[in-house]
């Protein structure tokens, strides 16, 4: 037992202090640990358990994994739920639709968002703060209402149709709602701030002298952009793309409000299997394979990227 502190000085209260520190630290670790295991990890484990259970009529609508009824243990486990969703092109297509929706809209958000973030970051400080506030306002406004706004605008009798008809471009209202283009539009619109804000965060720290230096050395603007600006804003691009891509993969609300029946998405299928068909094992198997196919690659990528960043620092 030592009463010496790390710096070699004897402190009479050190033992008491360490004891106290240990107690405080224990609660600081234990409380969130306990909460997350109970309400995050166990529910996920439960999804896994139900996904390998046999479905049956009743409440809950699946058979218990372990059956003790005959005096010996019988395991009612099956992979048939997974086999079913992977054999039916309907489910596979919905995964692909969600992935392509997430990919397309992330790309469009990046293309629209990058110039905005770049020019806001490059403005004078007084204008910059004002523009930043203007960027944050839509971010704070309810997500649901921003999606709903497009439903209002794109109606047959909506403002876009009215303008087009007034100028004689079309003679009768176009039906612009309820297809997968509207879904992309809605997604790009609602997720654009998630792309712009992290990009802005990296671009604003960016030293403008580097651009001048590159110009002085004879690089043309495009080359300066590709060789200097783009690599330095890469962390922002990746952060913004993650913030858009990940939630869009599971998006349910936008396809439900703006989408039609031409394309089905992953989020909506889970919703339907659970609430409409009441098939818990299938819904769980869908969620589980969603985690494995869509979420795990992202976690692995993030860990790799964190390492890469760490090495570069």
């Amino acid at each position: 037992m030592t009463l010496l502190s790390a710096h070699g000085k004897v402190s009479p209260s050190i033992f008491l202090m360490n004891n106290f520190l240990r107690k405080q630290n224990f609660w600081f670790v234990f409380t969130p640990y306990f909460w997350l295991v109970l309400f995050f990890f166990i529910p996920l484990a439960l999804i896994f358990k139900i996904s390998i259970s046999v479905s049956e009529w009743g409440m809950p609508p699946y058979r218990d994994l372990l059956d003790f009824s005959d005096g010996n243990i019988k395991i009612n486990s099956t992979l048939s739920n997974y086999a079913f969703i992977f054999s039916d092109p309907f489910y596979l297509r919905s995964y692909l639709n969600s992935l392509s929706l997430a990919f397309t809209s992330t790309l469009i958000c990046l293309l629209i968002g990058y110039p905005i973030a770049f020019y806001v970051a490059k403005s004078k400080e007084s204008t910059r703060n004002l523009l930043l506030i203007l960027l944050i306002i839509p971010f704070w406004t309810s997500f649901l209402l921003r999606v709903y706004a497009w439903k209002v605008i794109l109606q047959g009798s909506g403002i876009i149709n009215a303008i087009l008809m007034k100028f004689g471009i079309i003679s009768e209202p176009l039906s612009m709602l309820y297809n997968h283009y509207t879904v992309v539009l809605g997604v790009v619109y609602t997720y654009l701030p998630f792309m712009i804000l992290p990009l802005y965060g990296y671009l604003v720290k960016f030293d403008l002298n580097l651009i001048d230096a590159s110009n002085d050395l004879g690089a043309r603007p495009l080359r300066t952009f590709i060789r200097v600006i783009l690599p330095l804003s890469l962390p922002g691009i990746i952060a913004g793309s993650m913030l858009v891509f990940i939630p869009v993969v599971g998006e349910f609300v936008i396809p439900e409000l703006l989408g039609g029946s031409d394309k089905l998405y992953f989020g909506k299928i889970i919703w339907q299997e659970f609430f409409v068909n009441r098939d818990w094992p299938i819904a769980s198997a869908l969620a589980m394979s969603g985690i494995i196919i869509l979420v795990l690659p992202i976690i692995v990528f993030q860990l790799m990227f964190a390492k890469y960043n760490f090495k570069n620092e």
């Binding site: 905005i116 839509p138 209002v152």
Partner: protein
């Protein structure tokens, strides 16, 4: 000159795209017509209707209640996580702890909602808790997905500031508890506030997780709004959007001026 034009054009188009839908919605909230898109005249009719709509008012009160409770608990847990990950070296199964505290960030809402609902049903079967789905289950779910966001904010603040200050205080014989409250807490206070606000907005905005975990008497505002606009348009929701926008803009202006006076100091 050419470059300046490019800048102005991209900013104008960008901001027009961001604001056009919101402003259209606000304009139509003053339309005195039951058919949302056919303009009849200016009126406050739908604002009157909105304030008489008990379903919306009740949902609003429930949402505010759940959001403020959830933000408070999520902030406490988030500060604990941020502090643990940056200040405590001995955490049992540390990688697992990191996994738990960061993966809710990348988990699609629909999977979180489904897993929590199945969990509540099973735990009700096993131990009778929670006795029914309602405000409590929505609150627990909201705390669970907000914690990770608060933790990230706190963690980045704690890892970027000088640890030596805390060590100096310790060498001078300050009690750890006092170090936390007198040094660490004030330093991370701005992050605590922004974490709380983020958790509050996340809860107020959530539709998917709440739809899964809600029960009788716990319809939050997004659930009610969604049920109203799912199949058509609602003039009352237009009025509601305008009011929400007004609050957000006022908050933003207040933030702008507070921030500006801070910088000037």
């Amino acid at each position: 000159m050419n470059r300046y034009l490019l800048k102005v054009v991209s900013l104008v188009i960008g901001f027009a795209f961001l604001y056009f839908p919101i402003l259209t919605l606000i304009a139509y909230s003053f339309n005195d017509n039951k058919r949302v898109m056919v303009w009849k005249g200016f009126s406050f009719r739908w604002y009157g209707k909105l304030f008489q709509n008990e379903q919306i008012i009740e949902a609003f009160v429930i949402s505010i209640k759940i959001a403020s409770l959830s933000a408070t608990f999520a902030t406490i847990l988030g500060v604990m996580i941020g502090y643990s990950l940056t200040r405590i070296s001995k955490i049992p199964a540390r990688p697992f702890f990191i996994f738990l505290s960061s993966s809710p960030l990348v988990m699609p809402e629909i999977i979180l909602g489904l897993s929590l609902l199945l969990f509540f049903i099973s735990s009700n079967h096993l131990i009778g808790f929670p006795s029914s789905k309602g405000q409590l289950t929505v609150l627990i779910s909201h705390i669970t997905f907000s914690v990770a966001f608060v933790a990230v904010i706190i963690q980045s603040r704690l890892s970027s500031y000088d640890k030596n200050i805390e060590e100096a205080a310790q060498d001078l014989g300050t009690i750890p508890n006092k170090i936390f409250w007198k040094i660490t807490a004030p330093v991370i206070l701005p992050s605590i506030i922004s974490g709380w606000l983020l958790a509050f907005t996340l809860s107020l905005d959530d539709l998917v997780v709440a739809s899964f975990t809600t029960g009788p008497g716990a319809n939050t505002l997004p659930i009610v709004v969604f049920s109203k606009v799912r199949l058509g348009l609602s003039p009352e929701v237009n009025a509601l959007s305008a009011i929400i926008m007004l609050f957000v803009i006022m908050a933003a202006i207040a933030y702008y001026f507070v921030n500006r006076s801070n910088i000037q100091k």
